[in-house]
């Protein structure tokens, strides 16, 4: 029957919707279901993300890298439509690279954030992208900027995004304090992402972390069995 479906393309739509031979997920958009988080500390930022990309109920990629470099010391965390966020990140990386060469200086994190905002706001009707821009520059040190769906821009000391973020607002509010060290931020981010991955069906896999400071970028991965565990019945 599968062969018959492909030999009669005109009836493809009818056939696929009437029987189970063509799974649902082939017609769903690819989305980074996601939990992402970014925290400022004195001297840099820590960013983290889960690693699940879904098309409907199918996990298209269980080891996705949602932490995308935009410049040497500027990263973005992507949530929403995988295609949209990849395209925007490519555009901004190009624009920022060009701008940095013109300036003959490393670019500001605020500049990168504004470039994201410009694209996300102009095409707000067509796009579905929630992005956290985080990095280090010489002027203001570590910074986190949130560019949610709709295209607004706000700087926050700590920010979460993606479908899994709703579950960890309470945890973030109660556990974040200004003045944490880099290692405390890494622990906080790993714990928050684990909690969200436990509750959100669209988030899961491994936890990817990165810390960005004047010295450079340090990346690490925490595998499933090494994630922090919490006692819940």
């Amino acid at each position: 029957m599968a062969a018959a479906a492909s030999m009669m393309p005109n009836f493809g739509q009818q056939i696929s919707s009437k029987n189970d031979l063509v799974p649902d997920w082939t017609r769903q958009e690819v989305s980074t279901g996601t939990t992402i988080m970014a925290v400022e500390y004195d001297g840099g930022v820590v960013i983290g993300a889960d690693s699940r990309t879904t098309t409907g109920a199918y996990i298209a990629n269980r080891v996705t890298d949602k932490l995308t470099p935009i410049h040497d010391r500027i990263f973005c965390c992507r949530s929403g439509s995988a295609a949209d966020t990849q395209a925007i990140a490519d555009v901004v990386a190009y624009q920022l690279g060009f701008h940095s060469i013109e300036l003959d200086e490393p670019p500001l994190v605020e500049t990168a954030a504004n470039l994201f905002r410009a694209s996300c706001y102009r095409y707000r009707e067509e796009l579905m992208a929630g992005i956290l821009v985080a990095g280090w520059d010489r002027r203001k040190g570590g910074q986190v900027y949130c560019v949610p769906i709709g295209g607004m821009l706000v700087r926050q000391p700590v920010s979460v995004g993606g479908s899994g973020s709703t579950y960890i607002y309470g945890f973030m509010d109660s556990n974040y304090k200004p003045g944490l060290s880099k290692d405390q931020c890494l622990e906080l981010t790993a714990a928050a992402l684990s909690l969200a991955m436990e509750r959100d069906g669209s988030s899961g896999g491994v936890v990817r972390l990165a810390s960005i400071s004047e010295e450079g970028v340090e990346r690490r991965v925490i595998l499933g069995n090494q994630l922090p565990k919490f006692s819940t019945h």
């Binding site: 709703t166 579950y167 960890i168 607002y169 309470g170 945890f171 973030m172 509010d173 109660s174 556990n175 974040y176 304090k177 200004p178 714990a191 928050a192 909690l195 969200a196 436990e198 509750r199 919490f230 006692s231 819940t232 019945h233």
Partner: protein
């Protein structure tokens, strides 16, 4: 005059947007709720007590449609009174939860309310039951309502087995405060009820006395 429909909130259903929580400890339970009732964007009651007594030592926490939740609580209150007279002693918490579940399941298509039932009885001590959508399950703690989504991470991280009564009360107050500050449909004051063998204690924490966090 023709075509004038009046303010939107007159035609919006009244919902207890809500955050509710119940947790058991060795010897009793603590229940907590916020106090906001909304009809669309309008807050129609900012001091509603969503912790409703079903019997002397059994309470339920209301969420979802205000009318549906209140009606279920009233009906079960009546059924429990009859049942406790029939058996000649205080009813079990499981019986109260089963009565709530029976209504929630039978009318699940028409109703949209979720009640958490918690209390103390002589046989099993403190117990918490969730009755979402017509299921019945006993849990060490349960959260519900629109505000609960924001605190799943917090309760998962902070809950430990064997907490004392005071630790449970603090846990409930912290959870409600976090949820109320993130959920637009939850707010007002926090009502906390503590039930154990000796007494049933009702307490209110006013807005400015609620625990605060780094950005407040």
């Amino acid at each position: 005059m023709l075509g004038e429909t009046g303010p939107e909130w007159l035609s919006e259903e009244v919902k207890t947007g809500t955050t509710i929580i119940a947790i058991e400890y060795n010897g009793g339970v603590v229940l907590g709720s916020d106090s906001r009732v909304s009809a669309g964007a309008s807050v129609v009651n900012r001091v509603m007590n969503k912790l409703s007594p079903l019997h002397d030592k059994i309470y339920c926490a209301l969420s979802g449609s205000a009318a549906d939740a209140q009606t279920i609580a009233e009906i079960v209150n009546y059924q429990l009174d009859v049942h406790s007279i029939e058996i000649g002693e205080d009813p079990q918490v499981r019986s109260a939860a089963t009565l709530v579940r029976n209504i929630s399941y039978k009318y699940k298509e028409e109703l949209s309310a979720h009640l958490i039932v918690a209390g103390w009885d002589r046989r099993e001590g403190g117990q918490v039951f969730a009755t979402l959508n017509g299921l019945l399950t006993r849990q060490p703690f349960a959260v519900g309502g629109s505000g609960s989504s924001y605190v799943y991470g917090f309760v998962d991280a902070e809950y430990r087995k064997g907490m004392s009564k005071e630790e449970c009360q603090q846990f409930v107050a912290n959870t409600l405060s976090l949820a109320m500050s993130r959920d637009g449909s939850s707010g007002g004051v926090a009502y906390i009820v503590t039930i154990d063998e000796q007494s049933t204690e009702e307490k209110v924490i006013l807005g400015n006395d609620l625990p605060t966090f780094f950005d407040q």
